[in-house]
Amino acid sequence: MRALAAGLLALTLALPALADWAFTDAEAVSGEPQAKLFPHLESAGRGNLAASGDRLAVVWEDNRDGSPQVYVALRALDRPGFAAPLRLSAGREAYEPVVVGLDAGRFLAAFEQDGKVVARVFSAAAQGALTQLDAAVSAQITLTAIGKRIHAAWGRRDGRFLRLVSAPLTVDGLQIRSGAARAVDLSPAQDEQLYASLAATSKGYAIAWEDRRAGHTRLLTATSSDGAQWSTPQPLNEIPHSSSAAELGLGRGPGVTRVSLAGDGAATVAAVWMDKRDFLSGYDTYAAVSTDHGASFGANEKAQDAFGAEKPQWHPAVAVTPHGVVAAWDDPRDDTPDIWLSTRHSEKEWSDDFTVTGAAGPGSQDNPVLLWHGGRLHLAWVHKGADGAQVRYAQGRWE
């Protein structure tokens, strides 16, 4: 028996350790919950988290000042505890903020304010002036930054429709300069182009968006070396050849919406989105990965496991890590919404779905956002309980 035990111990020690994500305790980001206070972590591409220097920033919108406005909370990357929220917007109302890290603790946030997209540089110590990026009616801005390169894309009202445009940004101290905004797709505006997401690569930029010109919503992608001229749009979501609706001659495609991109800054770009090709159980979280800077994407992959199949998945976010692409979303498989995550170990191989302590359980946890930075997976979400709602955060490491 002793020999058997010794043998099992030796075998156990010889096996490679099964690494997994380990998360810190959840922290409050947006202050204490209050009655009638409604924080929202929503933006084009779900870009509400960024890191710069030794700081992490979370941006969101809530109504603590009597109308929807945009706020940021900052935290040291290696120490728990967020500083008190700072207001970034200054108009009647503001929505859908995104943020990117610059350098030395400076950040660039952009959002919709009073019907136009604006941006502001900030740090823990100072805020620059609000800079209007488009004089036209505009919304749904998304940002990406890598090194000195910063690029923005947003929807500009063109007649009846939002049309996707993009522009390079430069930052000098706390000042922002915007280059010319050009249409991503040069063909005439015929219907909506919505909720874009950008990722910077070592060869330029990748972009994905919702496009309604085909009589239903498609997800399209394009790439650019300089952000001025974009490649011909390519379809991202696959359309099943057979469906009960198609057999009846109804409609042209399943529902797809809210695509988010993330990259590793080199050649890998991952996309996640909500996809209703299996419409009886609502949206599923689908993903596709590019290893050529966004020029082409691999086959569509369902990110969630079978235990989530009977429930709809909402609000997918994505991060590219050295340990695989990570997708996060919320779904109510345990009756109320919880944050669920899955790690892509290899092509079409996703882990079992897993939860994070504090981001699942009593109340509701939804609207996750993700960032991979500094060897940590940063996760924020909205918690709703009996006391009200609150943005929360946890940090994961692979161990």
Partner: protein
């Protein structure tokens, strides 16, 4: 423009209209918060139609059910008609004062497929939710159940079993 060109243009227009699955033509659908205001003022119940751009089953419902003149009259008389695009970023205000997008309203009401039809009290509280394609007779039955106040006493299926059309 010759006759063939005109015919092709008309066919294109009709095809484009057929695949968009917007609210059915000829109905006075209004946005969600405008509908709540109208319902509060009038005391009418709300008929809330969750559609989706390009939604095949919404298109079928519009063409085969909402084209019925009697149904149109009945629903226009009995309800404040509200249409929500389940994937739209258009914002609305909830009775709590919270501003959310139309898509977020769908997430909170668990609108997992489209079309979904909700019948609401004038204050916005839910009475009945029915997903998927429905016939003219289905919509007449739901209307009898809701307008007659039967939902306060029994489930829909019990009502229909006891009160067939």
């Amino acid at each position: 423009m010759n006759a063939l060109t005109r015919l092709l243009a008309l066919a294109t227009l009709l095809f484009a209209a057929a695949v968009h699955a917007d609210p059915p033509a000829g109905y006075a659908f209004v946005p969600y918060d405008e509908g709540l205001r109208q319902a509060e003022a009038s005391g009418k119940k709300i008929f809330l139609y969750f559609g989706r751009y390009g939604c095949a089953w919404c298109d079928k419902t519009n063409k085969e059910s909402f084209s019925d003149a009697g149904l149109k009259q009945r629903y226009s008389d009995n309800y404040v008609l509200v249409y929500v695009d389940a994937e739209s970023g258009t914002r609305l205000t909830l009775p709590s004062g919270e501003r959310i997008t139309e898509m977020e309203l769908g997430a909170r009401l668990n609108v997992f497929a489209t079309p979904v039809f909700l019948y609401l009290e004038p204050d916005g509280s839910p009475i009945l939710k029915v997903p998927g394609f429905k016939t003219v007779q289905d919509f007449r039955d739901f209307d009898r159940y809701v307008q007659g106040g039967h939902y306060r006493k029994m489930k829909l299926l019990e009502f229909l079993a006891e009160n067939p059309a």
